[in-house]
């Protein structure tokens, strides 16, 4: 597979380490009343779509960027690649 790194262009997937669902960015609030439950869901419950999937890849042997890659799990077509930091900010993870 080839991943179109937003800073570096097309790179072989061998340079990356796969983590999983990009929802791992949405780490819950530890002080919430139901933190035990929300953390449980955050950690263990995943969608398993046959189709478009947003997922985290780490450019481990490259520039060490975490990326959010939108990949079709049926065809492996990659339609979008973003810096995970940008995604995290967009999802309100700024301090």
């Amino acid at each position: 597979m080839m991943i179109d790194h937003p800073l570096l262009g097309l790179r072989d997937a061998q340079e990356f380490t796969y983590l999983g669902d990009a929802s791992l960015i949405d780490r819950p609030d530890w002080q919430a009343e139901d933190a035990q439950e929300t953390f449980h869901d955050y950690l263990y419950l995943r969608e398993n779509p046959a189709g478009e999937h947003r997922e985290l890849w780490f450019h481990e042997t490259g520039d060490r960027s975490w990326l959010v890659v939108t990949r079709n799990t049926l065809t492996h077509e990659i339609t979008k690649v973003e810096l995970a930091r940008d995604v995290a900010r967009a999802r309100g993870r700024s301090k």
Binding site: M1, M2, H76, E77
Partner: protein, 985 residues
């Protein structure tokens, strides 16, 4: 007699005669021959025995789809089994042996299996050898394996080199037949970067095997001219002897180039084969088509061949499979074969055409509406029996029968990304479906365009379309006038009512009867049919048999072939040697070897090394007279605790953490608090996974307000860094903090023992105060040593002694360790390895990988109070789950044997002093154990239920693997200096 069946013409070099041996006999052939063509030219039709029934077999095909003619090529450590004689290029001195035959190819004792064929039908092994159960592994399976199987291997190490390579192109063209060459000419002239790959050693595909003309030139001459033009273009890379084996994601293709297989002597230092990874922007599959056989009784006799293969041997290699060749066909290709044979002077006794309305053949008798119902000849065909249109039978003498059942497009690579082929009624075959691998298009016969004119046009137009999509302007190459015959075929799969077995899959010995049996037993789905009968599961992946099997099953179920289903294909297209897959990653090159900067010093000291991940670490340093590792380790431990020892700890992961928010960041990734750690201090830190399980520990040293140095365990250096980057970029993206791994930037040594300070005082520079007051336990600082060399000093202790770790830039590691050893001479300093390190940490009760084993929490480790409840950190929330926070759960404690000589064994399970020993009464387990030279007995640490409250209790440590149970006393895990006075001395 020499080459009795050699004809005139052909694309062989008659000026270069080659000697070769097959099955112990000597033959001659010519440059340009394959092993198969040379054997046929010498009148040899028998080339092997079949897999299951040991039936005599000859070649069926002239290409890589060959199911029968498998031989063991070369000798000794270069012997390669299951080589297809049809693609083995002849070279001077080639040696090949028939396989799967004993004692000889002509008399094979195992052919007795053929007599018992009634018992050896599909599913026979499953049904017969089920009982008694233990017999399968010990008795039946080894015997069956020996009797069946294909070729044998030498059991010697492969002496050849293999390599991997990477190529990039705009357009990859797979196959250099008419469509591939037309595509390559079109693309090559446009200036695009083109790779043209073909598995053959000569480009041209069927053009080399047919008598058709392209314009004024013969097909092979046109191909040679096209090849010459392409070779002159710098932007085109021509790869002969290169099989594209798989289509992978995003335009990546795998290809195997056979660099040296055709050479009599290997060229040293050059790879035998190269596994290429080809990155293409677009790819064109121009792989042609394969002829398929018709099944009839005894259709596997040597001499029964595909008609296209007969034309290949006659036209390209000038080798007649026999002096008289009959033809059995359901389409016009049979007629073309007759014309070619007659033109070469080969006698054609009859053309047997299943079509009642077949048109006449010039120079041969046509038997229209007739079918072959049997064949004769013990080791090779002598005659065929034909059922004529009027129902009468007739025997026709012939040494070979050319069979044509139509053509199947070579769409294998279109299926590698789960593409499903589609049925095409004109061809009575499958063509590529719409779901092609991204960037791929298909042209020529592979796309069902069977005529030469269609193939040429398809190739040229396909290349234009592919390049235009890339924004590269191209115009189609001018194409010569070529044959454009329509498909004239009557679907016909197998002859009904023969007396003997009709073979479907010749490599796995599957017959029409086996398919029928599968149907009878309701294995009607294609996937079941395959697995039950093994149809299509041999090394040829059923290239010549899958369609036939499907057709027979369709007939039995009363469905159409597309309703019955299709099998899709997986990589590799043809078998790939394991050596090619491995490339250079063999032996010590299987993974990289990491050595610390003082590796040479350790070698000089006689160190015994152990692998820790990729690292080599000194395990112990034997001295003269020491005959057992324990002597060395005990000495290193005792000497360190008595005076001083030095240990290389460079392999620990080191991560530099800098930025205004560095402390805030560490507070989030460590379970314990770091925000208030003063500058100049080190703190032990425990990292949790988000699920609350402890996964790594180490230290963080604060060198400045905004600068920490974090250490991780050797094993988790990569993972901890990855996780910290995840926290930094994905969870807290706006913290002002930067990370970099500095594991390889610093060489680090532990200096431990009561004389550690006195030793270090001799090498630190004069202005550095390392007195106990000036540099107390858990102090850290940037200092200079040896007259100005910058260093980092940490007063931390894994051994439990007064100890330091000192780090210098990597290139000074060797110098530093030598300086430490020299300075330590007066204290009788000892280097110590990972074993002594392990003994001392067990004596001290420090957790390591055995304790942080992926199932244990901070609470289990006795570090529960470290987990801060006042802050957010990874793992904090879920570590409080009831299942993980049981106060009477597992706790880290120590164990001493009641009888001093009893061993405590890591992995032993703890049981109460009396009662049953079973999983249900399990009280915990020993994680680490060693002989403690300080206590004079074996000791261990491990996890015990409610351990903190059970000190003094006697338990049994059960080790059922070795049938050993010893009594142990539960003690504190801190065997040495539990108050920590030595650390602070």
């Amino acid at each position: 007699m020499n080459q009795i069946n050699r004809l005139t013409g052909g694309q062989i070099n008659r000026n270069k005669e080659l000697n070769f041996r097959f099955d112990g006999r000597s033959f001659k052939g010519f440059e340009g021959d394959t092993l198969a063509s040379a054997l046929l030219a010498n009148g040899e039709r028998l080339m092997g025995r079949s897999f299951k029934y040991h039936r005599p077999r000859g070649v069926l095909t002239a290409g890589s789809e060959e199911p029968n003619a498998l031989v063991e090529l070369r000798q000794g450590n270069r012997q390669e089994p299951n080589t297809r004689a049809t693609v083995a290029e002849l070279f001077e001195g080639l040696e090949a042996n028939a396989q799967n035959a004993w004692p000889s190819l002509r008399f094979d004792a195992m052919a007795v299996n053929d007599r018992f064929s009634n018992f050896l039908t599909a599913g026979f092994y499953y049904k017969t050898f089920m009982w008694p159960k233990p017999f399968w592994e010990k008795v039946y399976e080894p015997i069956i394996r020996k009797a069946a199987g294909l070729g044998s291997i030498s059991f010697e190490e492969d002496p050849d080199l293999y390599d991997k390579g990477f190529l990039h192109c705009d357009l990859l063209i797979i196959g250099a037949g008419p469509s591939g060459l037309a595509a390559a000419l079109t693309a090559g002239r446009s200036g695009a970067r083109v790779i043209l790959a073909d598995e053959d050693f000569r480009m041209g595909g069927r053009l080399n095997a047919e008598t058709l003309t392209l314009g004024d030139a013969s097909g092979s001459d046109w191909a040679a001219e096209a090849h010459a033009e392409l070779a002159s273009l710098d932007n085109v890379r021509l790869m002969t002897r290169t099989t594209v084996i798989g289509a992978f994601d995003h335009g990546i293709y795998g290809a195997v180039e056979r660099v040296q297989d055709h050479l009599p002597q290997t060229i040293a230092d050059k790879p035998r084969q190269i596994l290429w990874r080809i990155y293409s922007r677009k790819a064109m599959l121009c792989a042609g088509a394969m002829e398929r056989p018709i099944a009839f009784a005894d259709n596997d006799r040597p001499g029964v061949m595909l008609a296209s293969a007969v034309r290949s041997y006659v036209n390209r290699w000038a080798a007649a499979p026999a002096q008289e060749i009959a033809i059995f066909t359901n389409n016009d290709d049979g007629h073309r074969t007759a014309a070619d044979l007659i033109a070469k002077g080969v006698k054609v006794p009859a053309v047997i055409d299943v079509r009642a309305d077949a048109s006449a053949v010039v120079g041969a008798e046509l038997l229209a509406g007739a079918e072959v119902i049997g064949t004769e000849g013990r080791l090779g065909l002598t005659s065929v029996t034909v059922r004529l249109a009027n129902g009468q039978t007739r025997k026709i003498n012939c040494g070979a029968l050319a069979v044509s059942g139509g053509w199947n497009p070579n769409l294998h690579l279109t299926c590698h990304q789960r593409g499903r082929p589609q049925w095409n009624a004109d061809l009575a075959g499958f063509v590529p479906g719409p779901d092609l691998p991204s960037g791929m298009s298909v042209a020529g016969a592979a796309n069902g365009q069977l005529s030469t004119a269609q193939a040429l046009a398809g190739g040229a137009m396909g290349a234009v379309a592919a390049l235009n999509a890339l924004g590269i302007a191209a115009k189609p190459a001018e194409l010569p006038q070529a044959e454009d015959a329509p498909i004239a075929l009557k679907p016909f799969w197998h002859v009904q009512g023969g007396k003997s077995r009709a073979w479907v899959d010749q490599q796995n010995d599957v017959t029409v009867k086996d398919v029928r049996l599968a149907h009878q037993e309701n294995f009607v789905s294609v996937e079941h049919l395959k697995r039950y009968t093994t149809l299509g599961m041999a090394t040829d992946q059923g290239k010549t048999s899958n369609m036939l099997g499907l057709a027979v099953m369709a007939e039995l179920t009363g469905k159409t072939i597309p309703e019955t289903g299709t099998t899709i294909f997986r990589p590799p297209y043809t078998p790939v040697p394991m050596g090619t897959m491995a490339g250079r990653a063999t032996g010590k090159h299987f993974h990289p070897t990491r050595k610390t900067p003082s590796h040479t010093w350790a070698e000089e000291k006689g160190a015994v090394f152990t692998e820790v991940g990729d690292w080599l670490r000194a395990q112990w340093f034997p001295r003269q007279g020491e005959t057992h590792w324990r002597q060395s380790v005990d000495r290193e431990v005792l000497q360190t605790r008595k005076s001083v020892g030095v240990c290389d700890v460079t392999t620990l992961g080191k991560i530099d953490v800098q930025g205004k928010d560095a402390a805030t960041f560490l507070n989030k990734v460590y379970a314990n608090a770091f925000a208030k750690l003063p500058v100049g201090k080190v703190r032990y830190g425990l990292m949790l996974r988000e699920d609350g399980i402890a996964y790594d520990d180490g230290t963080a040293a604060r060198l400045a307000e905004d600068h920490f140095v974090v250490t991780t365990t050797t094993a988790n250096a990569v993972l901890a860094y990855r996780n910290m980057e995840f926290a930094r970029q994905c969870l807290w993206p706006d913290l002002d903090v930067q990370l970099i791994s500095t594991t390889e930037a610093w060489a680090q040594y532990a200096v431990a023992g009561p004389n550690a300070r006195r030793l270090l005082e001799k090498i630190v520079d004069a202005d550095v105060d390392i007195s106990n007051a000036g540099f107390p336990f858990m102090a850290c600082g940037e200092i200079t040593v040896c007259g100005g060399l910058r260093a980092r000093l940490f007063r931390i202790s894994f051994s439990g002694e007064l100890a330091y770790e000192i780090a210098v830039p990597t290139r000074y590691g060797d110098g530093l360790v030598r300086a430490l050893m020299e300075a330590g001479e007066e204290f009788d300093v000892t280097p110590y390895g990972t074993e002594a390190l392990g003994v001392m940490r067990i004596e001290k009760g420090h957790a390591a990988g055995n304790e942080l084993n992926g199932t244990t929490t901070a609470l289990n480790l006795g570090l529960g109070r470290m987990v801060s409840k006042k802050k957010d950190c990874i793992g904090n929330t879920l570590s409080e789950r009831s299942g993980l926070s049981d106060e009477s759960g597992l706790r880290l404690v120590g164990f001493k044997p009641i009888k001093a000589h009893d061993p405590v064994t890591a992995g032993a399970h703890l049981m109460n002093a009396s009662g049953e020993i079973s999983a249900t009464t399990d009280q915990g387990y020993v994680t680490s154990a060693c002989f403690s030279p300080n206590l004079g007995c074996s000791i261990g640490i491990g996890f015990l239920k409610d351990g903190a409250n059970r000190l003094g209790e006697v338990l049994r440590a059960a080790n059922p693997l070795e049938g050993q149970t010893v009594e142990v006393e539960v003690v504190s895990a801190h065997f040495i200096d539990p108050e920590g006075e030595r650390l602070r001395a």
